[in-house]
Symmetry: C2
């Protein structure tokens, strides 16, 4: 089944896939918090409904941003991991973090700050991507 795109604009097309309140929160959990199972994602602070979580994971997988696999040691648990395409979202995630930290605090005063990102954006992007690749490598034998 193929997606419908609103236009030929890369921004609009990316938003056709990721423009909702949950997809990038799931990617954040994977990339920054190294979450990997359905349970991990459904127990995040934001309390995503399981039906929405299931549909988002399916969509992200269908677009190749994540993979779904089982480990030989556990036949029940599914392990979701970001692909390189998904890891490539790190710059977007970091820019959103910076913008939110700078401009949303006025409306959500107790917002958590990410000092490393503010201090060294490119460093933080590289660090997170590198760490995540190691995390994947350690899981996928």
């Amino acid at each position: 089944m193929q997606h419908k795109f609103r236009s030929l604009c890369p921004i609009a097309s990316t938003l056709d896939l990721l423009g909702d309140k949950w997809s990038l929160v799931i990617v954040r959990d994977m990339l920054i918090r190294e979450k990997k199972t359905f349970k991990d994602f459904s127990s995040s602070d934001e309390k995503i409904a399981t039906g929405i979580l299931a549909s988002r994971l399916k969509l992200l997988e269908s677009f190749g941003l994540i993979t779904k696999r089982k480990l030989p040691t556990n036949k029940k648990e599914n392990i979701y991991l970001l692909t390189e395409k998904g890891i490539d979202l790190a710059p977007i995630i970091m820019e959103i973090t910076l913008w939110g930290d700078k401009h949303m605090r006025a409306y959500n005063p107790k917002l958590i700050s990410h000092k490393e990102v503010k201090a060294d954006k490119l460093g933080a992007i590289n660090f997170v991507q590198k760490s995540y690749r190691q995390f994947v490598a350690q899981i996928v034998d």
Copy 2:
């Protein structure tokens, strides 16, 4: 009336405001295409419904990302302009452009490419922000 936020995470909070298919498309039209009236926005390629456009403009204004004003020369037309807070979205917009250009083309082959952004991201961000500030200055006496 105040917004509800899902958590204390800057990413989730930013997505509480901008996490939908339309808000950043409107910001794109303002920042990159220098659109400024209700008509301008409603005539974009993506065909936003007027009801949604009206509600998004109201929301963006309520969070201080845009301003709404009239020119002394026209008592009907409303002029919507990005504030500095809105102009500050340029890095997010550019990163989304780059990601989309790189990864969505497989699904939307005729995607338009933005060579300047690919060639010089920081330059493109600065250029767009500077140009937009000039555009605003020229409108607001």
